[in-house]
Amino acid sequence: MAIDAGFVGRTYPPTAPYLVGREKIREFARATGQHHPLHHDLTAAGALGHHDLLAPPTFAIVLTMSAEGQAIFDPALGLDFSRVVHRSQQFTHSRPIHAGDLLSVTVTVAAVDSVGGNDVLTLSSRVATVQGDQVCTAVSTLVARAA
């Protein structure tokens, strides 16, 4: 089933604020084999000019994938999640993410397409502080393979 192209440009409400935690950063870094002291050691982070632990470069996925659920599970969009695979992902950082950041995500449907009977959905997630300062943009492309 093709996704209605009329959904392009639809923006979902900003997510409830997410407080980036030190232990979440450590847990994510361990799970992805990133052992740099900036992700783990508060003293080392301070010595390197960071006010708190630094999140790894793909950490924003913790917030954005959850936020994308608004679109993925939007019944009006009609995506078959049981057949969805993640095709590509891109992050553009305006500044690094640190423990203590209070962030909100705003998801926009950037593109819909149909390739060989497969639905292709591109979502753009803007991560910003609750004050509105831009932190990161994450672009996800998802494919719902034809049954």
Partner: protein
């Protein structure tokens, strides 16, 4: 030693990284990332979705690839852009050995703003599983 922009040469290779993933690594990443998609931990569901077996999260492969760049430049905060395409699934068998990923990176381009673009490919069993992957890093 942290590379300096002036000394980095286009076309030079980053140290290759080999990582082994098993089912426990997928469970660990699921918990850490909040991505509990059933195809990453349940073979029955993976097969029902048309996959050969449980597959790794594409984002785990990407995180490993980008982490390699952070290790090379010595400062993960220097990574200002990163991304890639999940070209083939990384099938992770239910055994002790798991599967081996090989991360290959090359300095693709030096830009005038003292950033470099690192081009990355991740191989699994000879196949390219992560393609068109790039990380832009700001060097000293």
């Amino acid at each position: 030693m942290r590379p300096n922009w002036d000394d980095v040469q286009e076309g030079s290779a980053l140290p290759e990284r080999v990582v082994r993933l098993d089912r426990a690594d997928l469970v660990r990443y699921a918990g850490a990332s909040g991505d509990f998609n059933i195809i990453h931990w349940n073979a029955r569901a993976a097969v029902a979705a048309g996959l050969p077996d449980v597959i790794a999260h594409g984002m785990l492969t990407l995180a490993l690839a980008v982490g390699t760049v952070g290790d090379w430049c010595g400062d993960p905060a220097a990574v200002v852009e990163c991304g890639g395409r999940f070209a083939k699934p990384v099938v992770v068998p239910d055994d002790a050995a798991g599967v081996e990923l090989r991360v290959v990176g090359t300095v693709g381009r030096k830009c005038v703003d003292r950033t470099v673009r690192v081009d990355i490919t991740v191989f699994c069993g000879g196949e390219k599983v992560l393609t068109k992957a790039r990380a832009v890093v700001r060097l000293a």
